[in-house]
Structure formats: structure tokens, C-alpha cells
């Protein structure tokens, strides 16, 4: 059950390469779990940008001194996100949340490894807190292109049992990708479950490493979305169902979190030939 809220932007702060936005509004935090996302309208009612923008929910609080709040971490990418980060505190912005399926949490305490790339770290501290509350041990790897694209390092460090950073340029932490740091971390932490959020190639390498070790990974994917609520079918990717059949599945309602071993990473951007309803040769 998602809520559509005319929210007030009560804080807009630059943090490294990102903007940390806090919205307040009735019901905006209701039902939010780690891994959920929000869809934000950009521009006014005559905006040429007619679609919402999707963002992982960083934090949500039903009761604060300023009412219910929802926090997002936004990277200025194109015109929509540029508009959003340029908004002044006090602006009224239409937010739909929570959307999607959140991270599945282990039923019994487990050793969890959280892996994030870039703004993929946005939901990770929230997730770590929930896991810890359930008695899990939490290890964390944050990767980014460069230092300014790391987010929430201090909080993550505070919560994690083991914590590591990788950057492509070596500006901080280990030079390289998160996948470079993962094997050692998995061994050290005796990882039983992996949670990942970040760019598709990163998720694929995380899912591969997890599968190789027979560990379940939960990956929050990022596909272009037009509606975010399940009505348009733009956001699909090939996912293997419990029945073993591959379907083009909506990442906005069936995801964004998928089991890493179920996503056919190599075939994203295609329709696998064995997918349900795939074009037959000579067919549509």
C-alpha cells in the first residue's frame, strides 16, 4: 500500500557528490521497510518531465518533531534530479512511497554482508539497523568511483562488525571494485546472506560471487521506470520464477529487490529465447 503525499522538503544538504533530502508529510513513512523506494514528481504541473524519479528510501520515521519524515539521497544526473537537488527547503513536492518489495530479512540471526556501490549505500544503514535488531551480524563494503561518491561511511563503520571501502581511483580505501574485497570479507565474516544495492554490473558480480559460495544474495536493481507502481511494464528484466520459468518481471512491483541467483544478469536488455512468451522464430 503506497501513499501519495504532498510533502514538504524540510532539509536539503549537499553530502559529497549527493544531496540528502528530508521530506515531511502525513503518512509518508507509513509501512516503509529497507529496500523500498519512493517515486518523486519533478517540476511543476506543467513540467516537460512527465514521469517521476525513483529513489531508494534512505530513512523513514513515522514520528518526529516535524511529523512523519522520509529521507532520500539524490545524485544530480539529468534534468529531473538536477531540478530536485536545486529545490529550496520549504518546497512542496509530490512523493509516492513506499513502493516495491523490500529486502527479505533472515528469519534467524545470520552473518550478513551488505555491499553497496555509489548511492547504492543510501538504504544500507537503515537495513543494517534492522538486521542488527534481529540479532544479525553485519559486515559492510562500500564501493564508489571516488571518495566524494561514498555516502554514509561513518554510520556504516559504526554499525558494521567489519567494514571496508573500495574506490576505482583509490582515493580512499582499497583501489578496485567491491568484488575484489568481497571474498576475503566473506571468509572473515563467515557470510550467510548478502544484500546489495548499486549499479547493474556490480550487482551481477555480487550475485555471481554469492552463487559460487552457495549464499543467497538480495540485490536491489535499478531499471528505467515510467510509473513505479506496476502499471506500465517498462521496468522489466528476465527473472527465473519458482517454477523454473523465466519471465519479464516488473522491477517496480516484483522488485526492486530480487534474489541474485534468479536474475538473468547476462540477458538484461534482451528477451531470453526461453522466456515465457518470447518471440518465436519468424514470430512477432
Amino acid at each position: 500500500m503506497a501513499n501519495q503525499v504532498k510533502a514538504r522538503l524540510i532539509s536539503n544538504k549537499k553530502v559529497g557528490s549527493y544531496h540528502h533530502l528530508i521530506f515531511a508529510g502525513d503518512g509518508i513513512a507509513t509501512g516503509v521497510r529497507p529496500g523500498h523506494f519512493a517515486a518523486v514528481a519533478v517540476g511543476d504541473e506543467n513540467s516537460p518531465m512527465i514521469l517521476r524519479r525513483a529513489f531508494s528510501i534512505h530513512k523513514a520515521a513515522e514520528i518526529t518533531s516535524r511529523g512523519s519524515t522520509l529521507e532520500l539521497i539524490v545524485a544530480a544526473h539529468g534534468p529531473g534530479t538536477s531540478w530536485l537537488v536545486a529545490q529550496q527547503e520549504g518546497a512542496i513536492i509530490d512523493v509516492v512511497a513506499p513502493l516495491g518489495k523490500p529486502f527479505a530479512l533472515p528469519k534467524t540471526p545470520a552473518n550478513c554482508l551488505l555491499v553497496a556501490g555509489g548511492y547504492g549505500s543510501a538504504p544500507m544503514v537503515y537495513l543494517a539497523q534492522e538486521l542488527i535488531a534481529r540479532g544479525c551480524k553485519v559486515d559492510i563494503i562500500f564501493g564508489a568511483g571516488t571518495e566524494s561518491k561514498l555516502f554514509d561511511v561513518l554510520e556504516a563503520k559504526r554499525l558494521a562488525r567489519y567494514f571496508e571501502i573500495t574506490t576505482d581511483d583509490g582515493s580512499v580505501g582499497t583501489e578496485g571494485r567491491v568484488s575484489t574485497a568481497m571474498p576475503a570479507m566473506m571468509a572473515k565474516g563467515e557470510t550467510e546472506a548478502i544484500y546489495a544495492c548499486g549499479p547493474m554490473p556490480m550487482l551481477q558480480s555480487v550475485a555471481d560471487l554469492a552463487s559460487k559460495s552457495n549464499i543467497i544474495s538480495q540485490c536491489a536493481v535499478e531499471e528505467s521506470m515510467a510509473c513505479g507502481i506496476g502499471v506500465c511494464m517498462t521496468c522489466v528484466l528476465p527473472v527465473i520464477g519458482d517454477d523454473g520459468i523465466t519471465r519479464m518481471v516488473r522491477s517496480c512491483t516484483d522488485g526492486p529487490v530480487f534474489r541474485g541467483d534468479k536474475v538473468r544478469w547476462d540477458e538484461i536488455g534482451t528477451v531470453p529465447a526461453d522466456c515465457l512468451g518470447a518471440p518465436k522464430s519468424g514470430g512477432h
Binding site: 515510467a226 506496476g230 502499471v231 506500465c232 517498462t234 521496468c235 512468451g277
Partner: protein, 310 residues
């Protein structure tokens, strides 16, 4: 609202003039969390085909100035699963349901129609003869008077005479009035106007088409003037032939333009992506606008833009 919000599309009576647009509301369920979907005119479901269908590769969408392109490729579960799950849910929910159907060939349209024949949940059938995404060697039924009529005829033959049939037209034709006339002659009770315009966007980095399907359908406010012109032209030529108008409707004022141009009801498509409560909001705004203009009913407004024309 003080005004009479009822309207009709031929044999199809609606409590209110705003419906969803096919492909922009799935089968209604997801929208029901944002507004009560029994309170709008009705739900037009995503075009359903005979078999399950995967649709096209991603990316399937690109935002364009005041519009968007999509190349979904009619992804769907197939008619049997649709009837069993989606239609059953809509029926139970008490929604006025217009089922959109799409076939790969004329025969498939006939089989789709016979599957829906006498189904108590089907208030009307919208025949999607105009989807430009179906790679059928470039042939689109709606682009030719004969193939358009053939599809409508076969559907007509396979449903009971009382079933309202709307043919959904493509704007990508030289003369849309000619197509409207041909589907009318073939037994359509009205037309849905318009489907998307064929368009393309090229990626700045790769310099290749953005969409997996290369071309896609353009929708949203950008196309509204074209949609409105099509509605106006068809109403001018066939004033008593009902029109379900759509294309870029974003608020009540936009909707009012379509009704004035000759639409008996309107569908909200792309606007729902930007605002999941758009159909309900637009219906409220429209009824308020109609009242503000001093009209007493929706039907009083239909076609007023033609007044005084000969």
C-alpha cells in the same frame, strides 16, 4: 457535483466520463490503492493477446519533451490467464471494465472476441488495431481501411450484438476519418482516438536508438494537439458516432477540450505515470469545470466546439 456526470459510448453507459487508457493502468488493481477505481467511468485494460507474450527488450521507455516513448511490445499473460485472474478480480471489484484486445492476425482477433463473448465482467471491448510496436513487418491494421474493417468485422461476428465495440485508431495515417468510417461500417459502435504516434530517440553516448525496439509510441501532453485534431475531425465528419478521446490529457481542462471537440468520454494514459491518482483527479476537475461553464450535464458539452460550423 451538481451536474449529471453520466455519459455513454453507444450501448455502453458510464457513470462518469473518465476512463483509464489501455496499457496505462494494467488491470486496475495497482491503481485501486490510490483511488477507488469504481468511482471513475471505467478501466480499459492493457491490450491482451491470445498467448502469453514477453514484449520487447529494455530499455522500453524514454522521456521526451512533455512526452514519452514506449516500446513495451504488448507484454501480457495471454487471454486465458487474463480472464481467470485479472477479469475475475475486476468483476468482483465491481469495475466497469473495457477489455482491450490485440491480435497478431485477423483470426486471433476472432478467437479473442469469442473468449470474451457473454462474459459478465466485460462492459465493452476495445479493439486495438493500432499498436505500432507490434513488429508485423511494419503492417499495422489501423493504417488501412480494409484491414481495420476486417478486424472489426471478425470481432463483431464473434460477440453478441449487444456488446459495445470500440476500435482504437492510430494517428499515423493520412486520413483518420476514412479509417473511422470503415470501422463504423464494419460494426464498431465507436472509436478510441488516439493511440501513440510512432517516434524515436537516439542515445547521446552510443548514437544508436535508445529503445530496445528502436522506435516507440509517443504519448503525453506533447501529442495532445494532434489527438484533439483527430477527435475534432472525426466528430465533424460523423457527429453521431461516439468517440473515446485520449492523448496527453493531464488535467480537467485538457479533458474538457476533448469533450468539446466531440468525445463522449476520455481516457487518461501517460498522466497516470506522473500522478497515480490522475484519472480520479482529472474526473473531479473536469466535472467542476463543466459546472463552472454553466452546463448541467456532461452530454451537453459533447461537440460544442463545432457549434455554428456547417
Amino acid at each position: 457535483m451538481a451536474i449529471d456526470s453520466a455519459t455513454s459510448l453507444a450501448k455502453l453507459n458510464l457513470i462518469a466520463p473518465v476512463l483509464t487508457a489501455s496499457g496505462c493502468a494494467a488491470a486496475g488493481k495497482e491503481l485501486d490503492q490510490f483511488f477507488d477505481i469504481t468511482k471513475i467511468g471505467g478501466i480499459v485494460t492493457k491490450s491482451i493477446m491470445l498467448e502469453a507474450r514477453s514484449g520487447r527488450p529494455t530499455p522500453r521507455m524514454a522521456e521526451t519533451p512533455s512526452g514519452m516513448l514506449n516500446s513495451i511490445g504488448l507484454q501480457g499473460p495471454g487471454i486465458d490467464s487474463f480472464i481467470e485472474k485479472d477479469l475475475a478480480w475486476l468483476h468482483e471489484r465491481g469495475v466497469t471494465t473495457i477489455v482491450s484486445i490485440a491480435g497478431n492476425n485477423i483470426e486471433e482477433f476472432g478467437r479473442l472476441a469469442s473468449k470474451l463473448r457473454d462474459h459478465p465482467a466485460v462492459a465493452a471491448i476495445e479493439i486495438n488495431i493500432s499498436c505500432p510496436n507490434v513488429a508485423n513487418r511494419g503492417l499495422v491494421f489501423a493504417c488501412n481501411t480494409e484491414s481495420a474493417a476486417d478486424v472489426v468485422s471478425v470481432v463483431r461476428r464473434n460477440v453478441s450484438p449487444g456488446m459495445p465495440l470500440l476500435a482504437k485508431l492510430s494517428p499515423d495515417v493520412t486520413d483518420i476519418v476514412e479509417i473511422a468510417q470503415s470501422v463504423k461500417a464494419a460494426g464498431a459502435d465507436g472509436v478510441s482516438v488516439i493511440n501513440t504516434l510512432l517516434g524515436m530517440v537516439i542515445d547521446q553516448k552510443t548514437l544508436r536508438p535508445v529503445l530496445g525496439g528502436r522506435t516507440g509510441g509517443l504519448s503525453g501532453p506533447a501529442i495532445r494537439p494532434v489527438a484533439l485534431r483527430c477527435v475534432f475531425q472525426i466528430h465533424a465528419a460523423m457527429p453521431s458516432f461516439p468517440i473515446l478521446g485520449m492523448g496527453g490529457i493531464r488535467n480537467g481542462k485538457d479533458a474538457l477540450e476533448f469533450i468539446a471537440a466531440g468525445a463522449s468520454a476520455i481516457s487518461v494514459g501517460t498522466a497516470t505515470f506522473g500522478d497515480p491518482s490522475a484519472p480520479m483527479r482529472i474526473q473531479n476537475e473536469l466535472l467542476q469545470d463543466i459546472e463552472n461553464h454553466g452546463f448541467e450535464s456532461v452530454s451537453d458539452v459533447i461537440g460544442v466546439a463545432h457549434k455554428g460550423d456547417n
